[in-house]
Symmetry: C2
Subunit: 236 residues, 2 copies
């Protein structure tokens, strides 16, 4: 996996913040690079002959094994010193690759994307550059390379502001879920508790939920309804 200079647009990259939800906590997908102890967001480059959006989908699929996810662009990071050639160099050397000059050591302006995926049904796989990929609790992330911690902050901010509008939460849950599941997703993202009765009223009022049989058999109490999201339009 040595990037050919002719294939990619120089100086532009993307970084992605992949959110998952464990049933209790909000989590983020983080890569660790071989032999360097460097943690990073999954990112990549754009080919000269592909759309930016497509590049992100392709790259993410290559690096994490995850396909068909809803991606949302949220900000482009262009500070002069956000890239650090020394760190990139160490990552490649950690793999035994030594390159003197390479376009990958240049300055990069990076477009940030975030996605929400179902924590339970996805099993991410690390690519050749990385020796591990894993979920980390949002509130106890390791220190990430370059400005990636800031990128995560900004992604969450954007997600919070658009949670209601876009009902992004549907990506974090299995097909069928209870009202409590949904509320826990909201609470994990917003970082604050929601009123149970009002939350239910609001969600049902949106008219986007379909109520199903009570199939859940958890504890010694009344069984909750199961819900699914009403399909409206597919996102390409």
């Amino acid at each position: 996996m040595v990037f050919q200079a002719d294939d990619y647009i120089p100086n532009i990259s993307y970084d992605s913040v992949i959110f998952g939800f464990s049933g209790e906590k909000l989590k983020i997908l983080i890569l660790e690079y071989h032999n360097t102890g460097t943690f990073a967001l999954p990112g990549g480059f754009i080919r000269k002959d592909e759309d930016l959006d497509r590049a992100v989908k392709r790259g993410l699929s290559e690096r994490t094994g995850i396909d068909q996810i809803y991606l949302e662009q949220f900000h482009t990071f262009g500070a002069l010193h956000r890239s650090n050639p020394a760190v990139m160099r160490r990552i490649f050397e950690g793999q035994g690759i030594v390159m003197k000059d390479h376009w990958i050591f240049d300055r990069f302006i990076s477009v940030g994307y975030y996605a929400l995926i179902n924590y339970d049904t996805v099993s991410p796989k690390p690519d050749a550059l990385s020796d591990s990929i894993g979920w980390y609790n949002f509130d106890s992330l390791p220190e990430l390379m370059q400005d990636h911690n800031q990128i995560v902050e900004k992604a969450l901010e954007h997600l919070r502001n658009h949670l209601d509008q876009k009902l992004l939460s549907f990506n974090l849950l299995p097909e069928f879920f209870t009202m409590k599941d949904l509320q826990q997703v909201y609470e994990a993202i917003l970082g604050e508790n929601q009123n149970r009765a009002n939350f239910q009223r609001k969600m049902l009022g949106l008219g986007i939920l379909e109520r199903h049989e009570k199939l859940y058999s958890g504890g010694s109490h009344k069984a909750p309804f199961l819900y699914s999201f009403r399909k409206v339009k597919s996102d390409s």
Copy 2:
């Protein structure tokens, strides 16, 4: 003004949507290129040794004569065929500059910014590449080059969604203004009428307005108060 390849990051540009308010209508600043009848948003490139944000401020100042404005990044446009080398070529030829190969004819991914400025106190000046710069009503824009019409749409969408949060409107008004002025700005941006009494309540409730003497002497009726925005924090 021939851009040197060594000075600029290739394949990345910015485009800016500069909103103004005439006292009645929402307007946007548009450039027209020499001899080509091509209309475009003010845009530019990023130097290899400057922050993205700074580059936009600098470039905008060079191309329009406008300084010290509040800029907000809203989206990055990266579709494969959004750039059109043929159009760029015509613009340069229209100026008598003929170049066979130039990095400027490459594909560009463009970062979109918008700004809000005071229509009355600003007199934009076109740069060497353009023969005119002018205000156009948002609802009757000419056809713009490449995907610039889409960029404008997206900017307005973003502005509408964030109007209340950031009180961006203060940039569109002179230092002193009436409550009616403020309401008209909101109505122009949101595209719908606001209730007079409630608008006043809401704005005063925000605690960001300072009320001054009634100095206005317009028509045959009660004089309105003048207001100004309470200064909180300056934006670098």
